[in-house]
């Protein structure tokens, strides 16, 4: 019984280490090939459109609703204290520092990351990745680099957009429900925000973007079997991205807390 337990734990740890090793290896190669000739602008643009532009509707929906919900929940507490004025600053700071980056990253991991794993996984099972190599193209450069670079660039932009919409959501509640004037709300929001809030919020999203791209590509390349394998890898990619985004967020929040107290 104990031996079995130890063995199970040992296997899980070994699998975890194997995965981390694979990720570091893929990350290093993706980084290396990002700066190597030839540079493929067309594919980068295509991936940026898929990751960025096409994600706008869902990011708009989620972030504005989060702003509305957050303002309502804060109002519920603040009304007891008669301090509704603080809602604006609370919504702005929470959106920019935390909710915008994390919620957007999770949405993108589910929407874009899953699609990357399914696409690369299908290419793997139909031997398209082997074909790519036999035609003298490096799969890392051809498939991973455009996704890696586009997600690292697009996620911060999406988060900036989500921050604005989140604040807009809060504005809707405060102006139309609580009767705070529009200019007052905006002034309170922007007075509460410092550059460091925006910068720390955006820096981590570059890493979230890289994590989503690497995890999704890694699981795609490691698909085994047919359709079932692709489904399995997609599920694993999304779950792993979620876990890594949350843990990385925790790490960065702690880091920034000590660097910029």
């Amino acid at each position: 019984m104990i031996t079995k337990f130890v063995l199970t734990i040992g296997c899980k740890v070994a699998a975890g280490l194997y995965f981390m090793g694979g990720m570091v290896n893929l990350g290093a190669r993706a980084f290396f090939w990002s700066f190597r000739h030839p540079f493929r602008g067309g594919r980068l643009f295509e991936q940026s459109r898929k990751a960025g532009m096409d994600s706008l509707p869902i990011v708009s929906l989620v972030s504005s609703f989060i702003g509305i919900i957050f303002a309502l929940q804060t109002a519920y507490q603040m009304q007891k204290l008669g301090s509704e004025m603080y809602i604006a600053s609370i919504v702005a700071v929470s959106m920019v520092r935390e909710l915008g980056p994390v919620i957007t990253a999770l949405v993108v991991a589910g929407r874009v990351g899953a699609a990357i794993t399914a696409e690369i996984g299908s290419m793997k099972v139909t031997e398209q990745i082997d074909a790519l190599e036999t035609l003298g193209s490096n799969p890392i450069q051809y498939l991973v680099v455009p996704r890696f670079v586009s997600l690292a660039l697009m996620l911060p932009l999406l988060v900036l957009y989500a921050d604005i919409l989140g604040i807009f959501g809060g504005w809707l509640i405060c102006v139309y429900k609580l009767g705070i004037s529009s200019t007052m709300y905006l002034r309170l929001s922007f007075d509460a925000l410092f550059y460091k809030d925006l910068v720390t919020g955006l820096i981590k999203t570059v890493f979230f973007g890289m994590i989503i791209a690497l995890v999704s590509c890694y699981h795609g390349f490691n698909v085994k079997g047919g359709a079932e394998g692709v489904g399995d890898a997609t599920r694993r990619a999304v779950v792993t991205s979620f876990i890594l985004i949350i843990t990385t967020d925790c790490f960065f929040t702690a880091l920034f807390y000590f660097i910029f107290p």
């Binding site: 031997e127 398209q128 082997d130 074909a131 790519l132 190599e133 036999t134 003298g136 490096n138």
Partner: protein, 256 residues
């Protein structure tokens, strides 16, 4: 010339290639026969450098491919074409982009203009009996057409070596014969060195200069089609005549 020495590979505990030796002279079409799952595709993937052997070497024109730098290996791959079992066409690209993939991706290497690439693509498609489908997507094609487009992609860069992984499996008899004629034509006209992996005996006799039989990870017999037809080896005899009873099936029954 392709020279394979002592090639071994196993997946988990299953030994797929076991100290396999094989030589294919320049300009020769060699057919490798063997049952499904006996490791024929694995052998091809070692030749083109997709799989790393556990032991043994693969020499192409005297160069050990696993000792080459990446850039040299890529250059070597430009001289090789491979036709995959399921076609392996890139489904996000059109037929034309698939066929001209190497030219488009390696413009610095080939130095061809857009017009020249288009001409080469049309020419390659015509060679496999297809025309006017450059702008279609692979998903719109039938299985046989996909295979022919895959063949067009492999021959587009006029390679010296072409590897075929079951080129006639899953296509109708007429298309199969078109493919056989094409393999033969490439051999006669362009003096291409080819390895054709198949279990289609009709195709084997039609295209082969030499035939090798793979069994239990080794090449157990090799010779001209005439030698193989007159074989004394019971394993080869059972395979080429498609008999349900014989040493191959006895072996399976024993292991079960």
């Amino acid at each position: 010339m392709i020279n394979i020495k002592g090639l071994s590979k196993s997946f988990e505990s299953h030994q797929v290639l076991d100290s396999l030796d094989l030589t294919v002279a320049t300009g020769v079409t060699l057919v490798v026969l063997g049952r499904s799952g006996c490791g024929k595709s694995v052998l091809l993937k070692h030749i083109v450098g997709l799989l790393r052997p556990e032991s043994g070497e693969v020499f192409i024109d005297g160069e050990d491919i696993w000792k080459l730098r990446d850039s040299r290996m890529d250059a070597l791959r430009m001289k090789m074409g491979m036709v995959f079992q399921g076609g392996a066409l890139f489904d996000s690209l059109t037929v034309g982009e698939n066929v001209g993939f190497s030219y488009i991706e390696h413009m610095d290497y080939f130095k061809l203009s857009k017009k020249e690439i288009e001409n080469r693509v049309t020419e390659s498609l015509e060679m496999v009996g297809l025309s006017g489908i450059e702008n279609e997507m692979p998903s719109e094609l039938s299985g046989g057409m996909k295979k022919r487009v895959s063949l067009a992609r492999a021959i587009c860069t006029k390679p010296d070596i072409i590897l075929y992984d079951e080129p006639t499996t899953g296509v109708d008899p007429i298309t199969a014969d078109v493919i056989n004629e094409l393999i033969r034509g490439l051999h006669d006209v362009l003096k291409v060195t080819s390895i054709v992996v198949t279990h289609d005996m009709r195709s084997a006799y039609k295209v082969a200069d030499r035939i090798a039989m793979m069994y239990k990870g080794k090449i157990i017999a090799e010779g001209t089609p005439g030698d193989i037809q007159n074989t004394q080896n019971p394993v080869v005899y059972q395979f080429i005549n498609g008999l349900a009873k014989g040493p191959i099936t006895d072996d399976i029954n024993h292991t079960v």
